[in-house]
Amino acid sequence: MSASMRLLVRRAIRLSDTNIQISAAARAAARAAARSSSCRCFSDAAEDRSTHFGFETVPETEKAKRVYKVFENVAQRYDIMNDAMSLGIHRVWKDMLLHAMHPQPGVRLLDVAGGTGDISFRFLEYVRSQQERQKRRAARSMQTPSWQDISNNYSTEDEDGPLESRAVVCDINKEMLKVGKQKADSMGISTGLSWVVGDAEELPFDDDQFDIYTIAFGIRNVTHIDQALQEALRVLKPGGRFMCLEFSKVTNPVLARLYDAYSFQMIPVLGEVIAGDWKSYQYLVESIRKFPDQEEFTGMIEDAGFYCVQYRNLTGGVVALHSGFKL
């Protein structure tokens, strides 16, 4: 079944969920298609499906709770641990995400699993500098203004209103958001930023709301990745961009061995010494191994209904930046 057909079917399912009357035949076709495409929307609630939590197998209902606990424990030391574990390289990855995004003033960003707000802060900084650059360019081109130009300028002086960019940080974990808010307060950022508690599989936003959806190092913790992708499609405006930064498979075998050794030997030790929590960081490195590789994830994004899906490997495949558009 082609991606567009699947999209149509999924829309039909969603419509049927919201109790809109559609023809019985279409409904039956939708259900059959859903079952064939292994959509979990209609799975029996009593059926105990299991999924992976790191290298462990746990019931699906448990996974979200355990992930919540992990991030609740690590929230206070999250940023310090990121710097220690990646030797500061995570900042480069996030900067590269922003450069690939290249947001212009006036766009609305939804940063899912945004937690401590790294992406959103960078986003606001980026659009602010873009805005300044535009102002400077405008000023340069208006070196010798005529009286007509000056009077035009006065009439269009409050252009800043519609060009205000907004970032919404959405995370399921209140502790992480708390830490993010404290960071924002200490950095003095207040305008254009809002903090929302929400589940990536069921976002508390209307359809067609955002220009850009990002999820950085969060999607591997989601229990149902396909649902998160569908929600991403739903809340994006047509023409909106989906961007995902996530740990992925290292292609070079030598680097892969080094990376594995570092992940499994060093990172839990760092977790114990710096954050006093071995097991959370053991889960973190195991969850990276359980996440699908670059090509498979590209397929999943396409299945959800995105177009022009591409990926870029950063640091030899340690991190992959996936991008897709809602058209």
Binding site: F55, V58, Q265, L270, V273
Partner: protein
């Protein structure tokens, strides 16, 4: 341990039997754990198979942990969990030594088989409070109250890869407070350093030795003087000659008087009496 007269073959057989017993115990533990996990429908991490809270670590990880926790503990001595991890990762030989000493002592052997734990839930506080002054139980309770500490604040052992040694480590941590009572030392810095010197001489744990060496760096001149002239030598001498402090079944000796217990353990009373009000900080230095 070579016993003269035994052939090499008999020694190998003894070792094999010991190994088999260990394997049987481990597999039994794993089976019990598996049974538990299937009944709850929720598998716990595969790490907890030797004892609850156990985390498997490779030698590289242990080395990294030792170095990392050492640095962290030096930077911030109030990080008791780091001191604990340092003790666990560096104390293997000392723990083996302690285990042998406990096994050779009849009361110590009882402790090893019965595995008592000291925590608020196992202590009968009202009964201990009703004991006469000078009895071990009453003095211990007084020590807990004066210094505002509780026996429940000890971190669990995580990185020791042998169940019995892990218990010995845990017992060492729990006996630490009792040692304060026996030695008559409060929980201020001077008292803690004195106890550390005693423990270093007694147990030979590298973590105690490190604490003993670095602890005095935080003392002022007057206390340093009292440490080096009277408290220190007293602690070291008594640490060396006293009976193994882990071999005592303290839970059955609450009624015994402190003096009596000291005599039995071959410990002299402290040369100076330090009071609990004489403390700079209320934090414990484990």
């Amino acid at each position: 341990m070579r016993v003269s007269g035994q052939t090499m073959w008999q020694q190998h057989l003894a070792k094999l039997r010991l190994y088999q017993r260990q394997c049987a115990l481990t597999s039994k533990a794993v089976r019990v754990h598996q049974l538990h996990s299937t009944s709850t429908g929720f598998t716990d991490r595969c790490y907890d198979d030797l004892y609850p809270g156990h985390i498997h670590t490779t030698p590289i990880q242990k080395a990294l942990l030792a170095v990392g926790s050492g640095v962290a503990a030096l930077q911030n001595p109030y990080r008791h969990d780091m001191v604990a991890v340092l003790g666990e990762t560096t104390g293997h030989l000392a723990l083996l030594n302690l285990r042998d000493r406990m096994r050779n002592d009849p009361e110590g052997y009882t402790v090893l088989t019965e595995r008592p734990r000291i925590r608020l839930s196992t202590l009968d506080l009202s009964k201990m409070a009703s004991l006469p002054d000078g009895s071990f139980g009453r003095e211990y309770l007084r020590f807990l109250e004066d210094n505002h500490v509780t026996p429940d604040s000890r971190a669990d052992v995580k990185f020791v890869d042998n169940e019995e040694l892990a218990y010995i480590m845990q017992r060492y941590r729990e006996v630490h407070d009792l040692l304060h009572t026996l030695l008559g030392m409060p929980t201020n810095m001077l008292g803690e350093v004195a106890v550390k010197w005693f423990e270093a001489a007694q147990t030979g744990l590298p973590m105690c030795a490190l604490g003993a060496v670095l602890g005095p760096l935080r003392l002022n001149a007057r206390r340093l003087q009292s440490l080096f002239t009277s408290l220190g030598p007293w602690a070291l001498q008594n640490g060396r000659r006293s009976r193994c402090i882990l071999s005592i079944f303290y839970e059955r000796r609450w009624e015994q008087s402190v003096e009596d217990l000291r005599q039995e353990l071959n410990i002299e009373p402290p040369p100076i009496t330090l009071s609990a009000t004489n403390k700079k900080s209320t934090k414990k230095y484990e």
